[in-house]
C-alpha cells in the first residue's frame, strides 16, 4: 500500500501517543479507532469523546460582501444569520445536484467560517470564488493548514470544556451558536454543533493550542474517538455523509434536506431555478431509514428489494451499537418510503429482512 501521498493530520503525534490506528480517508491518513469503535461510540452517547476533524475544510470568508457572496453560492439564507449564529447549507450545481454540504458560522457582521468536507475542499472553494463579482469587498482565507479542528461530543461535553477552559468557557452557548474566546494566548473558536446526534462543541484554534487541548481533554478522561465511531454515531443520527448519501446526482428534497434550502427570501442562488422546478415536480424517491429485522449487516451498495425486485440501494449502512442491530440509509421510490414498509436487503447473496423506520434512528434524550 502506498501511503506517501496521504496527508497527515497536524496532531498525528498526539494520536499515535493515544494509541490510534490509522486508515486512509479522503486523501488523509486518519485515526479510525483507539480503544475500539463500540467503546468510543458508547463514550460519546454516555459521557464524552473527542475527534480530530482537522481534515475538514475551514474557509474564512471576510469583508463587507461576505454574506452576499455566500448567499449567492449557498442554498440557505446565511446572510440573514445573526452574529454568533450557525446553520447547515448546501452548495449546489446549476442543475440542483449537491456539490458539497457545509456548516456556516457567522462570527460577526463581516466574517463567516465555512466548514466543508475534506473531499470537496478544492472544488467547493473554486465554486464559491466563481461567484465573486467585480467590486465585491470579500476575501477567502483558507485556514485548513494553519489550524486544528476538534469535535468534543457527548452529554458531559459542557462539563469537560468548562474544566479545561476555566471561567472563559461559553457555558450559555446555545445549539447552533458560536463564539470566540481566548485560550493559551490563542483565539479559540467554539460552536455548539456536531455530527454525532449528541450535545457538544466543535473547536477551531492554532495547531499549538489544538494539540494542548486534545492532550488535556484526553488527560481528563474524554475518550479519543476515530472515524469509525464518527460514522456509527452520525448514521444513528441519520446525518448524511457526502459521497455516500448525497452527491451531484441527489437533490436536497429527496435527501430530506429541505431545511437547508431557503426559497422565501427572494434571493437568487446557485441551483435555485432547478431546485424550484424539482420541488414543484415532487421527488420520486426519498432517503429513508432502514432497520434490519435479523442478524447480518447491511453496507453501502447493498441492493434493497421489494417483492423480489431491486427498489434501491443502501447508501450508508452498518451496525448500530445503540440499537444492537444493523441500520442503513437508502433512496427508495416514494411509494415504498412509508414507515413500516417491509423490504429485504441483499447482503452478499443473502436476504436480510428490514423495515422503514422514522428518521433518525437515535435521538438524544431532552436535557
Amino acid at each position: 500500500m502506498t501511503t506517501t501521498s496521504l496527508r497527515q493530520l497536524p496532531l498525528v503525534e498526539q494520536h499515535r501517543a493515544l494509541g490510534a490506528r490509522f486508515a486512509p480517508f479522503a486523501g488523509w491518513e486518519m485515526p479510525v479507532q483507539y480503544a475500539g469503535i463500540v467503546e468510543e461510540h458508547r463514550a460519546v452517547r454516555e459521557r464524552a469523546g473527542v475527534f480530530d476533524v482537522s481534515h475538514m475544510g475551514r474557509l474564512f470568508v471576510v469583508g463587507r460582501d461576505a454574506g452576499r457572496l455566500l448567499r449567492r453560492a449557498l442554498t440557505y439564507k446565511v446572510d440573514q444569520l445573526g452574529e454568533g449564529e450557525a446553520h447547515y447549507a448546501l452548495l449546489c450545481a446549476d442543475d440542483g445536484g449537491i456539490l458539497d454540504d457545509v456548516f456556516v458560522y457567522r462570527l460577526d457582521a463581516a466574517r463567516f467560517l465555512v466548514v466543508d468536507n475534506a473531499v470537496n475542499v478544492e472544488c467547493g472553494r473554486e465554486r464559491i470564488s466563481s461567484f465573486v463579482e467585480p467590486g465585491m469587498e470579500v476575501e477567502l482565507l483558507d485556514r485548513q493548514a494553519s489550524t486544528a479542528m476538534l469535535a468534543l461530543q457527548g452529554p458531559e461535553a459542557p462539563a469537560f470544556l468548562a474544566r479545561i477552559i476555566g471561567p472563559e468557557a461559553p457555558e450559555g452557548l446555545r445549539r447552533h451558536h458560536c463564539t470566540e474566546i481566548p485560550y493559551l494566548g490563542y483565539k479559540l473558536f467554539v460552536s455548539r454543533t456536531g455530527y454525532t446526534g449528541e450535545d457538544g462543541f466543535e473547536l477551531v484554534t492554532s495547531l499549538e493550542a489544538g494539540a494542548r487541548l486534545l492532550e488535556r481533554l484526553a488527560g481528563e478522561g474524554v475518550a479519543p474517538c476515530g472515524l469509525g465511531a464518527r460514522d456509527t454515531l452520525r448514521l444513528e443520527a441519520a446525518l448524511p455523509l457526502y459521497g455516500n448519501d448525497i452527491d451531484a446526482t441527489t437533490s436536497p428534497w429527496e435527501a430530506g434536506l429541505g431545511f437547508a434550502v431557503s426559497l422565501d427570501d427572494g434571493a437568487d442562488f446557485a441551483g435555485r431555478a432547478a431546485l424550484v422546478a424539482a420541488k414543484e415536480a415532487g421527488a420520486s424517491r426519498r432517503l429513508v431509514c432502514l432497520r434490519a429485522r435479523g442478524r447480518g449487516v447491511m453496507r453501502a451498495g447493498c441492493p434493497v428489494l421489494h417483492a423480489g425486485q431491486v427498489a434501491g440501494r443502501v447508501s450508508s449502512g452498518g451496525f448500530s451499537p445503540t440499537l444492537g442491530v444493523s441500520i442503513g440509509l437508502a433512496y427508495l421510490p416514494v411509494e415504498l418510503a412509508q414507515e413500516g414498509t417491509e423490504l429485504e436487503v441483499e447482503v452478499r447473496g443473502k436476504r436480510l429482512p428490514a423495515v422503514v423506520v422514522p428518521r433518525p434512528f437515535y435521538r438524544k434524550a431532552k436535557g
Binding site: 501511503t3 469503535i37 469509525g228 456509527t232 453496507r299 451499537p321
Partner: protein, 133 residues
C-alpha cells in the same frame, strides 16, 4: 498477542485444538484484535462439510466483513450458539468461550500443514510490521 502453545494455526488466522478425532476451531487473538468489535457470525450448520483453506462462513465487525476459512476438512458436529448469539464473546475470549465450531476430522494428516504457535507468532509479527510501514 496471546498465542497458546498447545494450538495449531492457519495462515488465515484460525486456530485448531485437537481432542481425539474432534477439532475445535476459532479465530486467533490477533484476528479478533484486527477485526475490532465483532457483531455477526455466519457459520456452517451442524452436519455441513468443510474443507481445509476453503471459505466456510463470514465474520463481521462494526468496521467490515471478512471471510472465514476452515483450517481443516471434516464434518461440523457442533456450532457455538453462544458466540452466534453474543459475537462479542469472540473478542473477549477467542480461545475460550468465543470458539466457533467443532469438526470431526476427515484427514488428521492435514494438521501437519498447520503452523506451530512459534511459526504463527512470526507470521503475525511480519504482518504487523508491514501494517506500520
Amino acid at each position: 498477542m496471546d498465542i497458546p502453545a498447545e494450538l495449531r494455526y492457519s495462515k488465515e488466522h484460525e486456530w485448531v485444538r485437537i481432542d481425539g478425532d474432534l477439532a475445535t476451531v476459532g479465530i486467533t487473538d490477533y484476528a479478533q484484535d484486527q477485526l475490532g468489535d465483532i457483531v455477526y457470525l455466519d457459520l456452517p450448520a451442524a452436519g455441513a462439510a468443510v474443507a481445509q483453506h476453503e471459505r466456510m462462513g463470514e465474520i463481521e465487525s462494526v468496521k467490515a466483513v471478512s471471510d472465514l476459512f476452515s483450517p481443516i476438512s471434516g464434518e461440523v458436529v457442533e456450532v457455538n450458539q453462544g458466540a452466534v448469539d453474543s459475537p462479542e464473546l469472540v473478542n473477549q475470549a477467542p480461545y475460550g468461550r468465543g470458539w466457533l465450531l467443532r469438526v470431526r476430522l476427515r484427514d488428521p494428516g492435514e494438521l501437519e500443514s498447520l503452523l506451530s504457535s512459534q511459526a504463527y507468532d512470526e507470521l503475525i509479527t511480519r504482518e504487523m510490521e508491514e501494517n506500520t510501514d
